[in-house]
Protein backbone atom coordinates (compact mmCIF):
# COMPACT_ATOMS: atom_id res chain seq x y z
CA UNK A 1 0.00 0.00 0.00
CA UNK A 2 2.75 2.43 0.96
CA UNK A 3 4.60 1.64 -2.24
CA UNK A 4 1.43 2.27 -4.22
CA UNK A 5 0.95 5.67 -2.57
CA UNK A 6 4.62 6.59 -3.00
CA UNK A 7 4.56 5.68 -6.69
CA UNK A 8 1.42 7.73 -7.30
CA UNK A 9 2.88 10.70 -5.41
CA UNK A 10 6.03 10.55 -7.53
CA UNK A 11 3.90 10.45 -10.65
CA UNK A 12 2.13 13.68 -9.75
CA UNK A 13 5.35 15.71 -9.87
CA UNK A 14 5.89 15.52 -13.66
CA UNK A 15 2.14 15.88 -14.25
CA UNK A 16 2.02 19.10 -12.23
CA UNK A 17 5.16 20.37 -13.95
CA UNK A 18 3.57 19.76 -17.35
CA UNK A 19 0.40 21.59 -16.27
CA UNK A 20 2.37 24.57 -14.96
CA UNK A 21 4.53 24.77 -18.09
CA UNK A 22 1.62 24.37 -20.50
CA UNK A 23 -0.47 27.01 -18.73
CA UNK A 24 2.45 29.42 -18.40
CA UNK A 25 3.35 29.36 -22.07
CA UNK A 26 -0.23 29.22 -23.32
CA UNK A 27 -0.96 32.46 -21.51
CA UNK A 28 2.22 34.18 -22.68
CA UNK A 29 2.03 33.27 -26.35
CA UNK A 30 -1.35 34.84 -26.86
CA UNK A 31 -1.56 38.48 -27.96
CA UNK A 32 -2.75 41.01 -25.41
CA UNK A 33 -1.19 41.49 -22.01
CA UNK A 34 -2.67 42.35 -18.62
CA UNK A 35 -2.11 46.06 -19.21
CA UNK A 36 -3.45 46.40 -22.75
CA UNK A 37 -7.08 46.48 -21.67
CA UNK A 38 -6.63 49.49 -19.42
CA UNK A 39 -7.07 52.99 -20.71
CA UNK A 40 -4.19 53.85 -22.98
CA UNK A 41 -1.02 54.20 -20.93
CA UNK A 42 2.03 55.91 -22.34
CA UNK A 43 4.76 53.57 -23.58
CA UNK A 44 6.96 54.75 -20.77
CA UNK A 45 4.49 53.80 -18.05
CA UNK A 46 3.88 50.49 -19.77
CA UNK A 47 7.63 49.83 -19.73
CA UNK A 48 7.80 50.70 -16.05
CA UNK A 49 4.87 48.45 -15.25
CA UNK A 50 6.44 45.60 -17.17
CA UNK A 51 9.77 46.15 -15.47
CA UNK A 52 8.05 46.19 -12.09
CA UNK A 53 6.48 42.78 -12.68
CA UNK A 54 9.54 41.38 -14.45
CA UNK A 55 7.73 41.09 -17.77
CA UNK A 56 10.67 42.65 -19.68
CA UNK A 57 12.97 39.72 -18.97
CA UNK A 58 13.33 36.95 -21.54
CA UNK A 59 10.51 34.42 -21.37
CA UNK A 60 12.63 31.48 -20.18
CA UNK A 61 13.99 33.70 -17.37
CA UNK A 62 10.43 34.59 -16.29
CA UNK A 63 9.53 30.91 -16.33
CA UNK A 64 12.52 29.89 -14.21
CA UNK A 65 11.89 32.78 -11.80
CA UNK A 66 8.29 31.66 -11.46
CA UNK A 67 9.25 28.05 -10.78
CA UNK A 68 11.81 29.25 -8.24
CA UNK A 69 9.35 31.31 -6.25
CA UNK A 70 6.75 28.54 -6.59
CA UNK A 71 9.12 26.23 -4.72
CA UNK A 72 8.93 28.69 -1.83
CA UNK A 73 5.15 28.61 -2.02
CA UNK A 74 5.05 32.13 -3.44
CA UNK A 75 2.60 32.61 -6.30
CA UNK A 76 3.67 36.18 -7.01
CA UNK A 77 1.84 39.52 -7.08
CA UNK A 78 -1.50 39.96 -8.80
CA UNK A 79 -1.44 42.12 -11.93
CA UNK A 80 -4.95 43.47 -11.54
CA UNK A 81 -5.25 43.98 -7.81
CA UNK A 82 -2.40 46.35 -6.97
CA UNK A 83 -0.55 45.59 -3.75
CA UNK A 84 -2.15 42.17 -3.33
CA UNK A 85 -0.40 38.86 -3.77
CA UNK A 86 -2.00 35.84 -5.34
CA UNK A 87 -1.49 33.98 -2.07
CA UNK A 88 -3.60 36.58 -0.25
CA UNK A 89 -6.38 36.47 -2.81
CA UNK A 90 -6.50 32.67 -2.76
CA UNK A 91 -6.39 32.70 1.04
CA UNK A 92 -9.42 35.00 0.99
CA UNK A 93 -11.52 33.22 -1.59
CA UNK A 94 -10.64 29.54 -1.31
CA UNK A 95 -12.37 28.90 2.06
CA UNK A 96 -15.66 30.07 0.55
CA UNK A 97 -15.35 27.73 -2.43
CA UNK A 98 -14.28 24.84 -0.21
CA UNK A 99 -17.25 25.35 2.09
CA UNK A 100 -19.59 25.42 -0.90
CA UNK A 101 -17.93 22.28 -2.27
CA UNK A 102 -17.99 20.26 0.93
CA UNK A 103 -21.62 21.01 1.79
CA UNK A 104 -22.61 20.20 -1.80
CA UNK A 105 -20.71 16.92 -1.68
CA UNK A 106 -22.44 16.07 1.60
CA UNK A 107 -25.83 16.88 0.03
CA UNK A 108 -24.95 14.71 -2.96
CA UNK A 109 -23.91 11.74 -0.83
CA UNK A 110 -26.74 11.85 1.70
CA UNK A 111 -29.46 12.46 -0.88
CA UNK A 112 -27.98 10.11 -3.47
CA UNK A 113 -27.29 7.20 -1.15
CA UNK A 114 -30.75 7.41 0.42
CA UNK A 115 -32.53 7.49 -2.93
CA UNK A 116 -30.29 4.78 -4.38
CA UNK A 117 -30.63 2.32 -1.50
CA UNK A 118 -34.40 2.91 -1.33
CA UNK A 119 -34.76 2.31 -5.06
CA UNK A 120 -32.69 -0.88 -4.87
CA UNK A 121 -34.49 -2.53 -1.95
CA UNK A 122 -37.92 -1.57 -3.27
CA UNK A 123 -37.02 -2.57 -6.80
CA UNK A 124 -39.79 -2.21 -9.41
CA UNK A 125 -42.24 -0.62 -7.00
CA UNK A 126 -43.50 2.94 -7.21
CA UNK A 127 -40.79 3.98 -4.75
CA UNK A 128 -38.16 2.76 -7.19
CA UNK A 129 -39.81 4.57 -10.08
CA UNK A 130 -40.06 7.84 -8.13
CA UNK A 131 -36.42 7.64 -7.02
CA UNK A 132 -35.14 6.68 -10.47
CA UNK A 133 -37.13 9.43 -12.20
CA UNK A 134 -35.90 11.97 -9.66
CA UNK A 135 -32.35 10.88 -10.47
CA UNK A 136 -32.95 11.23 -14.21
CA UNK A 137 -34.37 14.72 -13.70
CA UNK A 138 -31.32 15.64 -11.62
CA UNK A 139 -29.00 14.50 -14.40
CA UNK A 140 -30.87 16.26 -17.21
CA UNK A 141 -31.57 19.63 -15.62
CA UNK A 142 -28.21 21.38 -15.59
CA UNK A 143 -27.11 23.51 -12.63
CA UNK A 144 -27.37 26.74 -14.59
CA UNK A 145 -31.05 26.01 -15.25
CA UNK A 146 -31.87 24.54 -11.84
CA UNK A 147 -30.14 27.35 -9.90
CA UNK A 148 -31.99 30.28 -11.49
CA UNK A 149 -35.27 28.31 -11.32
CA UNK A 150 -34.79 27.74 -7.57
CA UNK A 151 -34.01 31.43 -7.12
CA UNK A 152 -37.10 32.35 -9.13
CA UNK A 153 -39.30 30.10 -7.00
CA UNK A 154 -37.95 30.36 -3.47
CA UNK A 155 -36.29 33.77 -3.41
CA UNK A 156 -38.34 35.90 -5.80
CA UNK A 157 -41.76 34.25 -5.67
CA UNK A 158 -41.98 33.05 -2.07
CA UNK A 159 -39.32 35.35 -0.64
CA UNK A 160 -38.09 32.70 1.82
CA UNK A 161 -34.38 33.18 1.13
CA UNK A 162 -32.09 35.79 -0.40
CA UNK A 163 -31.52 35.56 -4.13
CA UNK A 164 -27.76 36.00 -3.73
CA UNK A 165 -25.01 36.56 -1.21
CA UNK A 166 -23.08 34.44 1.24
CA UNK A 167 -23.68 35.90 4.69
CA UNK A 168 -26.02 33.81 6.81
CA UNK A 169 -26.32 30.01 7.01
CA UNK A 170 -29.62 30.22 5.12
CA UNK A 171 -27.75 31.73 2.16
CA UNK A 172 -25.97 28.37 1.82
CA UNK A 173 -29.16 26.41 1.15
CA UNK A 174 -29.91 27.17 -2.49
CA UNK A 175 -26.33 27.14 -3.87
CA UNK A 176 -25.40 23.89 -2.14
CA UNK A 177 -28.67 22.24 -3.10
CA UNK A 178 -28.20 23.27 -6.73
CA UNK A 179 -24.64 22.02 -6.94
CA UNK A 180 -25.33 18.88 -4.91
CA UNK A 181 -28.43 17.75 -6.82
CA UNK A 182 -26.68 16.76 -10.05
CA UNK A 183 -24.15 14.59 -8.24
CA UNK A 184 -26.85 13.21 -5.93
CA UNK A 185 -28.56 11.99 -9.09
CA UNK A 186 -25.44 10.17 -10.34
CA UNK A 187 -24.75 8.76 -6.86
CA UNK A 188 -28.33 7.48 -6.66
CA UNK A 189 -28.06 5.69 -10.02
CA UNK A 190 -24.70 4.14 -9.16
CA UNK A 191 -25.87 3.08 -5.70
CA UNK A 192 -28.99 1.46 -7.11
CA UNK A 193 -26.98 -0.44 -9.71
CA UNK A 194 -24.29 -1.50 -7.24
CA UNK A 195 -26.81 -2.60 -4.59
CA UNK A 196 -28.86 -4.61 -7.08
CA UNK A 197 -25.76 -6.49 -8.19
CA UNK A 198 -24.70 -7.24 -4.63
CA UNK A 199 -28.15 -8.16 -3.33
CA UNK A 200 -28.25 -11.08 -5.77
CA UNK A 201 -25.07 -12.64 -4.48
CA UNK A 202 -24.73 -15.76 -2.41
CA UNK A 203 -23.28 -14.17 0.69
CA UNK A 204 -26.39 -12.04 1.06
CA UNK A 205 -28.53 -15.17 0.88
CA UNK A 206 -26.26 -16.75 3.49
CA UNK A 207 -26.67 -13.77 5.77
CA UNK A 208 -30.44 -13.94 5.38
CA UNK A 209 -30.43 -17.70 5.95
CA UNK A 210 -28.55 -17.18 9.20
CA UNK A 211 -31.43 -15.03 10.36
CA UNK A 212 -29.84 -11.61 10.09
CA UNK A 213 -32.46 -8.88 10.08
CA UNK A 214 -33.15 -7.09 6.80
CA UNK A 215 -31.64 -3.86 8.16
CA UNK A 216 -28.48 -5.70 9.15
CA UNK A 217 -28.25 -7.42 5.77
CA UNK A 218 -28.51 -4.11 3.95
CA UNK A 219 -26.33 -1.93 6.13
CA UNK A 220 -23.71 -4.41 7.28
CA UNK A 221 -23.41 -6.76 4.33
CA UNK A 222 -24.76 -5.28 1.11
CA UNK A 223 -23.81 -1.63 1.47
CA UNK A 224 -20.07 -2.23 1.61
CA UNK A 225 -19.98 -3.97 -1.75
CA UNK A 226 -22.73 -1.87 -3.26
CA UNK A 227 -20.86 1.33 -2.56
CA UNK A 228 -17.82 0.46 -4.69
CA UNK A 229 -19.13 2.15 -7.87
CA UNK A 230 -19.96 5.25 -5.82
CA UNK A 231 -16.43 5.44 -4.43
CA UNK A 232 -14.89 5.27 -7.89
CA UNK A 233 -17.26 8.04 -8.98
CA UNK A 234 -16.06 10.29 -6.14
CA UNK A 235 -12.95 11.39 -8.07
CA UNK A 236 -14.85 12.79 -11.07
CA UNK A 237 -17.52 14.13 -8.70
CA UNK A 238 -15.01 16.14 -6.70
CA UNK A 239 -13.49 17.59 -9.87
CA UNK A 240 -16.97 18.38 -11.16
CA UNK A 241 -18.06 20.06 -7.94
CA UNK A 242 -14.91 22.18 -7.83
CA UNK A 243 -15.33 23.38 -11.42
CA UNK A 244 -19.13 23.46 -11.14
CA UNK A 245 -18.69 26.15 -8.51
CA UNK A 246 -17.68 28.58 -11.33
CA UNK A 247 -21.28 28.68 -12.49
CA UNK A 248 -22.85 28.48 -9.03
CA UNK A 249 -20.74 31.35 -7.73
CA UNK A 250 -21.74 33.42 -10.75
CA UNK A 251 -25.46 32.70 -10.33
CA UNK A 252 -25.57 33.34 -6.59
CA UNK A 253 -22.88 36.05 -6.52
CA UNK A 254 -20.75 34.15 -4.04
CA UNK A 255 -17.29 35.68 -3.42
CA UNK A 256 -15.42 32.41 -4.04
CA UNK A 257 -12.36 31.36 -5.97
CA UNK A 258 -14.35 29.97 -8.91
CA UNK A 259 -15.78 33.33 -9.92
CA UNK A 260 -12.40 34.92 -9.27
CA UNK A 261 -10.76 32.42 -11.64
CA UNK A 262 -13.15 33.14 -14.51
CA UNK A 263 -12.73 36.88 -13.98
CA UNK A 264 -8.96 36.62 -13.81
CA UNK A 265 -8.94 34.73 -17.11
CA UNK A 266 -11.02 37.48 -18.71
CA UNK A 267 -8.72 40.13 -17.23
CA UNK A 268 -5.54 38.27 -18.21
CA UNK A 269 -4.27 38.46 -14.67
CA UNK A 270 -1.43 36.04 -15.53
CA UNK A 271 -0.24 35.24 -12.05
CA UNK A 272 -3.72 34.83 -10.60
CA UNK A 273 -4.74 32.49 -13.45
CA UNK A 274 -1.58 30.43 -13.04
CA UNK A 275 -1.89 30.29 -9.28
CA UNK A 276 -5.51 29.19 -9.41
CA UNK A 277 -4.86 26.54 -12.08
CA UNK A 278 -1.97 25.12 -10.07
CA UNK A 279 -4.08 25.09 -6.93
CA UNK A 280 -7.06 23.40 -8.60
CA UNK A 281 -4.84 20.86 -10.35
CA UNK A 282 -3.09 19.97 -7.09
CA UNK A 283 -6.40 19.72 -5.24
CA UNK A 284 -8.02 17.53 -7.87
CA UNK A 285 -5.02 15.25 -8.35
CA UNK A 286 -4.54 14.96 -4.58
CA UNK A 287 -8.17 14.14 -3.91
CA UNK A 288 -8.17 11.61 -6.75
CA UNK A 289 -5.22 9.92 -5.10
CA UNK A 290 -7.12 9.74 -1.79
CA UNK A 291 -10.11 8.25 -3.60
CA UNK A 292 -7.89 5.63 -5.26
CA UNK A 293 -6.38 4.66 -1.92
CA UNK A 294 -9.83 4.31 -0.35
CA UNK A 295 -10.89 2.19 -3.31
CA UNK A 296 -8.01 -0.22 -2.92
CA UNK A 297 -8.63 -0.35 0.81
CA UNK A 298 -12.30 -1.25 0.27
CA UNK A 299 -11.62 -3.71 -2.53
CA UNK A 300 -8.25 -5.43 -2.04
CA UNK A 301 -8.66 -7.25 -5.38
CA UNK A 302 -7.64 -3.99 -7.12
CA UNK A 303 -4.17 -4.19 -5.61
CA UNK A 304 -3.14 -6.69 -8.23
CA UNK A 305 -4.19 -4.60 -11.19
Amino acid sequence: MLRFIARRLLETIPVLLIIITATFFMIRFVPGGPFTAEKAVTPEILRNLEAHYGLNKPLYRQYLDYLGSLLHGDLGPSFKYPNRTVNEIIGDKLPVSLELGFISLAVALVLGLTLGVLAAIKRNTWIDYVCSSAAMIGICVPTFVLGPLLVLTFAIHFGWVNASGWYTPIDRVLPCLTLGCVYAAYVARLTRGGMLEVLNQDYIRTARAKGASETRVIFRHALRGGLLPVVSFLGPAIAGILTGSFVIETIFQIPGLGREFVNSAFNRDYTLVLGTVILYATLIIGLNLVVDVVQVWLNPKLKFE
Partner: protein, 323 residues
Amino acid sequence: MPSLSPQSLPSAEVTPDQLEQGSSPWRDAWARLRKNRLAVAGGIVLLVLTALCVCGPWFSQTYQDQNLDLGAVGPSGAHWLGTDTLGRDLFARILYGGRISIMVGLVATFVALTIGVTYGAVAGFLGGKTDTVMMRIVDIMYALPFTIFVILLMVFMKEPSENLDAWLRNTVHLEGLQGFGNMLLLFAAIGAVEWLTMARIVRGQVLSIKRMEFIEAARSLGYGRRRIIFRHIIPNILGPIIVYSTLTVPAVMLLEAFLSFLGLGVQPPMSSWGALIKDGAEKMEEFWWLLVFPGSVFSLTLFSLNFLGDGLRDALDVRASKD
Protein backbone atom coordinates in the same frame (compact mmCIF):
# COMPACT_ATOMS: atom_id res chain seq x y z
CA MET B 1 -20.37 -7.75 -27.81
CA PRO B 2 -20.86 -11.43 -28.48
CA SER B 3 -24.15 -10.87 -30.27
CA LEU B 4 -22.45 -9.08 -33.14
CA SER B 5 -19.49 -11.40 -33.55
CA PRO B 6 -19.29 -13.34 -36.79
CA GLN B 7 -19.91 -16.66 -35.01
CA SER B 8 -23.48 -15.69 -34.30
CA LEU B 9 -24.17 -14.85 -37.93
CA PRO B 10 -26.05 -17.51 -39.89
CA SER B 11 -23.64 -20.12 -41.17
CA ALA B 12 -23.18 -20.95 -44.84
CA GLU B 13 -25.42 -24.04 -44.70
CA VAL B 14 -28.55 -21.96 -44.33
CA THR B 15 -30.52 -21.74 -47.56
CA PRO B 16 -31.32 -18.29 -48.91
CA ASP B 17 -35.03 -18.30 -48.07
CA GLN B 18 -34.37 -19.40 -44.51
CA LEU B 19 -32.02 -16.49 -44.29
CA GLU B 20 -34.84 -14.19 -45.34
CA GLN B 21 -36.84 -15.15 -42.26
CA GLY B 22 -33.87 -15.24 -39.94
CA SER B 23 -32.96 -12.27 -37.92
CA SER B 24 -29.73 -10.31 -37.91
CA PRO B 25 -28.30 -8.99 -34.65
CA TRP B 26 -29.07 -5.48 -35.83
CA ARG B 27 -32.70 -6.36 -36.55
CA ASP B 28 -32.97 -7.97 -33.08
CA ALA B 29 -31.61 -4.84 -31.53
CA TRP B 30 -34.06 -2.70 -33.49
CA ALA B 31 -36.95 -4.86 -32.26
CA ARG B 32 -35.75 -4.55 -28.67
CA LEU B 33 -35.36 -0.80 -29.03
CA ARG B 34 -38.88 -0.40 -30.39
CA LYS B 35 -40.31 -2.09 -27.29
CA ASN B 36 -38.62 0.47 -25.02
CA ARG B 37 -41.23 3.21 -24.87
CA LEU B 38 -39.04 5.82 -23.21
CA ALA B 39 -36.31 5.39 -25.80
CA VAL B 40 -38.82 5.61 -28.66
CA ALA B 41 -40.37 8.72 -27.13
CA GLY B 42 -36.90 10.20 -26.76
CA GLY B 43 -36.11 9.45 -30.38
CA ILE B 44 -39.35 11.01 -31.61
CA VAL B 45 -38.85 14.14 -29.51
CA LEU B 46 -35.34 14.48 -30.90
CA LEU B 47 -36.51 14.05 -34.48
CA VAL B 48 -39.26 16.64 -34.05
CA LEU B 49 -36.95 19.12 -32.31
CA THR B 50 -34.24 18.72 -34.92
CA ALA B 51 -36.73 19.10 -37.76
CA LEU B 52 -38.17 22.24 -36.13
CA CYS B 53 -34.74 23.75 -35.56
CA VAL B 54 -33.52 22.98 -39.06
CA CYS B 55 -36.67 23.96 -40.96
CA GLY B 56 -38.34 26.38 -38.56
CA PRO B 57 -36.18 29.42 -39.29
CA TRP B 58 -36.99 29.05 -43.01
CA PHE B 59 -40.65 29.75 -42.33
CA SER B 60 -40.33 32.43 -39.71
CA GLN B 61 -38.82 35.80 -40.45
CA THR B 62 -38.78 36.88 -36.85
CA TYR B 63 -35.47 35.60 -35.53
CA GLN B 64 -33.64 38.90 -35.87
CA ASP B 65 -36.71 41.08 -36.34
CA GLN B 66 -36.76 43.57 -33.54
CA ASN B 67 -39.80 45.38 -32.31
CA LEU B 68 -38.37 47.80 -29.79
CA ASP B 69 -41.78 49.36 -29.14
CA LEU B 70 -43.05 45.96 -28.12
CA GLY B 71 -40.17 45.15 -25.76
CA ALA B 72 -40.47 42.04 -23.64
CA VAL B 73 -43.99 40.65 -23.49
CA GLY B 74 -45.18 37.34 -22.11
CA PRO B 75 -46.53 34.45 -24.16
CA SER B 76 -49.38 35.47 -26.44
CA GLY B 77 -51.11 34.45 -29.65
CA ALA B 78 -48.76 36.46 -31.81
CA HIS B 79 -45.59 35.35 -29.99
CA TRP B 80 -46.21 31.88 -28.56
CA LEU B 81 -43.34 31.98 -26.10
CA GLY B 82 -43.17 35.75 -25.66
CA THR B 83 -40.44 38.13 -26.77
CA ASP B 84 -37.14 39.27 -25.30
CA THR B 85 -36.21 42.78 -24.19
CA LEU B 86 -35.40 43.77 -27.77
CA GLY B 87 -38.82 42.60 -28.91
CA ARG B 88 -37.48 39.49 -30.68
CA ASP B 89 -39.70 36.42 -30.85
CA LEU B 90 -38.43 33.87 -28.29
CA PHE B 91 -39.77 30.83 -30.14
CA ALA B 92 -37.81 31.76 -33.25
CA ARG B 93 -34.72 32.43 -31.17
CA ILE B 94 -34.99 29.05 -29.44
CA LEU B 95 -35.23 27.33 -32.83
CA TYR B 96 -32.27 29.28 -34.16
CA GLY B 97 -30.22 28.69 -31.00
CA GLY B 98 -31.12 25.01 -31.26
CA ARG B 99 -29.44 24.83 -34.65
CA ILE B 100 -26.18 25.94 -33.06
CA SER B 101 -26.55 23.75 -29.96
CA ILE B 102 -27.40 20.64 -31.97
CA MET B 103 -24.63 21.32 -34.47
CA VAL B 104 -22.07 21.76 -31.69
CA GLY B 105 -23.36 18.57 -30.08
CA LEU B 106 -22.98 16.53 -33.26
CA VAL B 107 -19.71 17.94 -34.60
CA ALA B 108 -17.87 17.98 -31.26
CA THR B 109 -19.05 14.42 -30.60
CA PHE B 110 -17.69 13.44 -34.00
CA VAL B 111 -14.33 15.00 -33.11
CA ALA B 112 -14.27 13.15 -29.77
CA LEU B 113 -15.38 9.96 -31.51
CA THR B 114 -12.64 10.09 -34.11
CA ILE B 115 -9.87 10.74 -31.59
CA GLY B 116 -11.23 8.26 -29.03
CA VAL B 117 -11.84 5.37 -31.42
CA THR B 118 -8.49 5.72 -33.15
CA TYR B 119 -6.57 6.07 -29.90
CA GLY B 120 -8.40 3.23 -28.15
CA ALA B 121 -8.17 0.89 -31.13
CA VAL B 122 -4.47 1.49 -31.61
CA ALA B 123 -3.71 1.01 -27.90
CA GLY B 124 -5.79 -2.15 -27.67
CA PHE B 125 -4.51 -3.65 -30.90
CA LEU B 126 -0.82 -3.01 -30.35
CA GLY B 127 -0.99 -4.06 -26.70
CA GLY B 128 2.08 -4.53 -24.54
CA LYS B 129 4.16 -1.54 -23.50
CA THR B 130 2.56 0.83 -26.02
CA ASP B 131 -0.85 0.02 -24.57
CA THR B 132 0.32 0.49 -20.98
CA VAL B 133 1.83 3.89 -21.74
CA MET B 134 -1.11 5.08 -23.83
CA MET B 135 -3.70 4.09 -21.25
CA ARG B 136 -1.65 5.50 -18.38
CA ILE B 137 -1.74 8.83 -20.23
CA VAL B 138 -5.52 8.57 -20.42
CA ASP B 139 -5.69 7.74 -16.70
CA ILE B 140 -3.61 10.79 -15.86
CA MET B 141 -5.66 13.04 -18.13
CA TYR B 142 -8.81 11.79 -16.43
CA ALA B 143 -7.55 13.28 -13.18
CA LEU B 144 -6.89 16.70 -14.70
CA PRO B 145 -9.15 19.70 -14.21
CA PHE B 146 -10.10 19.77 -17.86
CA THR B 147 -12.95 22.24 -17.62
CA ILE B 148 -10.35 24.75 -16.47
CA PHE B 149 -8.27 24.21 -19.58
CA VAL B 150 -11.29 24.54 -21.83
CA ILE B 151 -12.08 27.86 -20.15
CA LEU B 152 -8.50 29.06 -20.57
CA LEU B 153 -8.46 27.96 -24.19
CA MET B 154 -11.73 29.77 -24.92
CA VAL B 155 -10.50 32.99 -23.29
CA PHE B 156 -6.99 33.10 -24.64
CA MET B 157 -7.69 31.86 -28.14
CA LYS B 158 -10.48 34.35 -28.65
CA GLU B 159 -8.33 36.86 -30.46
CA PRO B 160 -6.66 34.38 -32.84
CA SER B 161 -10.09 32.96 -33.68
CA GLU B 162 -11.37 36.46 -34.43
CA ASN B 163 -8.34 37.05 -36.63
CA LEU B 164 -9.20 33.87 -38.51
CA ASP B 165 -12.72 35.20 -38.98
CA ALA B 166 -11.43 38.51 -40.32
CA TRP B 167 -9.05 36.69 -42.65
CA LEU B 168 -11.87 34.53 -43.97
CA ARG B 169 -14.03 37.59 -44.55
CA ASN B 170 -11.45 39.82 -46.13
CA THR B 171 -9.12 37.47 -47.98
CA VAL B 172 -11.31 34.51 -48.89
CA HIS B 173 -14.56 36.56 -49.04
CA LEU B 174 -16.68 34.09 -47.12
CA GLU B 175 -19.27 36.51 -45.77
CA GLY B 176 -21.71 33.93 -44.47
CA LEU B 177 -19.27 32.35 -42.04
CA GLN B 178 -19.77 34.72 -39.14
CA GLY B 179 -18.22 33.40 -35.94
CA PHE B 180 -16.63 30.48 -37.77
CA GLY B 181 -13.33 30.73 -35.89
CA ASN B 182 -15.17 30.73 -32.59
CA MET B 183 -17.13 27.60 -33.53
CA LEU B 184 -13.97 25.86 -34.70
CA LEU B 185 -12.37 26.64 -31.35
CA LEU B 186 -15.43 25.33 -29.50
CA PHE B 187 -15.36 22.05 -31.44
CA ALA B 188 -11.66 21.55 -30.84
CA ALA B 189 -11.83 22.43 -27.14
CA ILE B 190 -14.81 20.19 -26.39
CA GLY B 191 -13.65 17.36 -28.61
CA ALA B 192 -10.27 17.37 -26.90
CA VAL B 193 -11.94 16.74 -23.54
CA GLU B 194 -14.62 14.21 -24.31
CA TRP B 195 -12.63 11.51 -26.11
CA LEU B 196 -11.15 9.88 -23.01
CA THR B 197 -14.08 7.65 -22.07
CA MET B 198 -14.51 6.57 -25.68
CA ALA B 199 -10.83 5.59 -25.87
CA ARG B 200 -11.16 3.42 -22.75
CA ILE B 201 -14.28 1.67 -23.97
CA VAL B 202 -12.93 1.02 -27.46
CA ARG B 203 -9.66 -0.32 -26.07
CA GLY B 204 -11.52 -2.78 -23.84
CA GLN B 205 -13.60 -3.99 -26.78
CA VAL B 206 -10.57 -4.34 -29.04
CA LEU B 207 -8.72 -6.37 -26.41
CA SER B 208 -11.56 -8.85 -26.28
CA ILE B 209 -11.98 -9.10 -30.04
CA LYS B 210 -8.40 -9.18 -31.31
CA ARG B 211 -7.79 -12.77 -30.24
CA MET B 212 -10.68 -14.01 -32.36
CA GLU B 213 -10.12 -16.23 -35.34
CA PHE B 214 -11.24 -13.87 -38.05
CA ILE B 215 -8.53 -11.42 -36.99
CA GLU B 216 -6.00 -14.22 -37.15
CA ALA B 217 -7.33 -15.03 -40.61
CA ALA B 218 -6.88 -11.43 -41.70
CA ARG B 219 -3.35 -11.46 -40.36
CA SER B 220 -2.50 -14.66 -42.15
CA LEU B 221 -3.74 -13.10 -45.36
CA GLY B 222 -0.98 -10.58 -44.87
CA TYR B 223 -3.14 -7.51 -44.26
CA GLY B 224 -1.45 -4.54 -42.61
CA ARG B 225 -2.27 -3.32 -39.13
CA ARG B 226 -4.12 -0.28 -40.37
CA ARG B 227 -6.40 -2.36 -42.58
CA ILE B 228 -7.10 -4.86 -39.80
CA ILE B 229 -7.93 -2.11 -37.29
CA PHE B 230 -10.20 -0.06 -39.55
CA ARG B 231 -11.74 -2.74 -41.74
CA HIS B 232 -12.03 -5.71 -39.41
CA ILE B 233 -11.98 -4.61 -35.80
CA ILE B 234 -13.85 -1.30 -35.73
CA PRO B 235 -16.89 -2.52 -37.70
CA ASN B 236 -17.29 -5.27 -35.12
CA ILE B 237 -17.38 -2.93 -32.16
CA LEU B 238 -19.86 -0.49 -33.73
CA GLY B 239 -22.47 -1.31 -31.07
CA PRO B 240 -20.65 0.17 -28.08
CA ILE B 241 -19.38 3.02 -30.25
CA ILE B 242 -22.94 3.98 -31.23
CA VAL B 243 -24.19 3.73 -27.65
CA TYR B 244 -21.45 5.87 -26.17
CA SER B 245 -21.66 8.41 -28.98
CA THR B 246 -25.34 8.84 -28.18
CA LEU B 247 -24.41 9.38 -24.55
CA THR B 248 -21.56 11.75 -25.46
CA VAL B 249 -23.87 14.15 -27.34
CA PRO B 250 -25.69 15.33 -24.18
CA ALA B 251 -22.37 15.66 -22.33
CA VAL B 252 -21.00 17.81 -25.15
CA MET B 253 -24.13 19.96 -25.33
CA LEU B 254 -23.94 20.44 -21.57
CA LEU B 255 -20.33 21.60 -21.80
CA GLU B 256 -21.17 24.02 -24.61
CA ALA B 257 -24.06 25.46 -22.60
CA PHE B 258 -21.81 25.68 -19.52
CA LEU B 259 -19.28 27.71 -21.51
CA SER B 260 -21.94 29.88 -23.12
CA PHE B 261 -23.47 30.50 -19.70
CA LEU B 262 -20.13 31.86 -18.50
CA GLY B 263 -20.03 34.03 -21.64
CA LEU B 264 -17.21 31.99 -23.20
CA GLY B 265 -19.02 29.86 -25.74
CA VAL B 266 -21.11 30.98 -28.68
CA GLN B 267 -20.76 34.75 -29.14
CA PRO B 268 -23.48 37.24 -30.12
CA PRO B 269 -25.08 37.83 -32.56
CA MET B 270 -25.17 34.04 -32.79
CA SER B 271 -27.04 32.31 -30.05
CA SER B 272 -27.33 28.87 -28.51
CA TRP B 273 -29.54 27.40 -25.83
CA GLY B 274 -26.81 28.03 -23.26
CA ALA B 275 -26.55 31.68 -24.30
CA LEU B 276 -30.36 32.06 -24.17
CA ILE B 277 -30.42 30.55 -20.67
CA LYS B 278 -27.69 32.97 -19.58
CA ASP B 279 -29.75 35.85 -20.96
CA GLY B 280 -32.88 34.53 -19.28
CA ALA B 281 -31.20 34.03 -15.91
CA GLU B 282 -30.10 37.67 -15.94
CA LYS B 283 -33.59 38.97 -16.62
CA MET B 284 -35.78 36.39 -14.90
CA GLU B 285 -36.98 38.66 -12.12
CA GLU B 286 -39.18 40.56 -14.55
CA PHE B 287 -39.40 38.20 -17.53
CA TRP B 288 -39.63 34.61 -16.28
CA TRP B 289 -40.38 33.16 -19.73
CA LEU B 290 -36.91 34.08 -20.97
CA LEU B 291 -35.47 31.53 -18.54
CA VAL B 292 -38.20 28.92 -18.31
CA PHE B 293 -38.71 28.13 -22.01
CA PRO B 294 -35.08 27.84 -23.18
CA GLY B 295 -34.30 25.91 -19.99
CA SER B 296 -37.18 23.49 -20.58
CA VAL B 297 -36.30 22.87 -24.21
CA PHE B 298 -32.68 22.24 -23.31
CA SER B 299 -33.56 19.86 -20.46
CA LEU B 300 -36.07 18.05 -22.67
CA THR B 301 -33.34 17.48 -25.26
CA LEU B 302 -30.94 16.12 -22.65
CA PHE B 303 -33.71 13.83 -21.32
CA SER B 304 -34.45 12.47 -24.78
CA LEU B 305 -30.79 11.87 -25.59
CA ASN B 306 -30.18 10.08 -22.31
CA PHE B 307 -33.28 7.89 -22.64
CA LEU B 308 -32.38 7.04 -26.23
CA GLY B 309 -28.80 6.25 -25.21
CA ASP B 310 -29.91 4.02 -22.33
CA GLY B 311 -32.39 2.30 -24.63
CA LEU B 312 -29.72 1.70 -27.26
CA ARG B 313 -27.41 0.28 -24.61
CA ASP B 314 -30.02 -2.23 -23.51
CA ALA B 315 -31.01 -3.02 -27.10
CA LEU B 316 -27.46 -3.57 -28.32
CA ASP B 317 -26.63 -5.43 -25.11
CA VAL B 318 -23.55 -3.38 -24.26
CA ARG B 319 -22.16 -3.94 -20.81
CA ALA B 320 -21.53 -0.77 -18.89
CA SER B 321 -18.06 -1.78 -17.76
CA LYS B 322 -15.23 0.60 -18.45
CA ASP B 323 -12.43 -1.90 -18.99
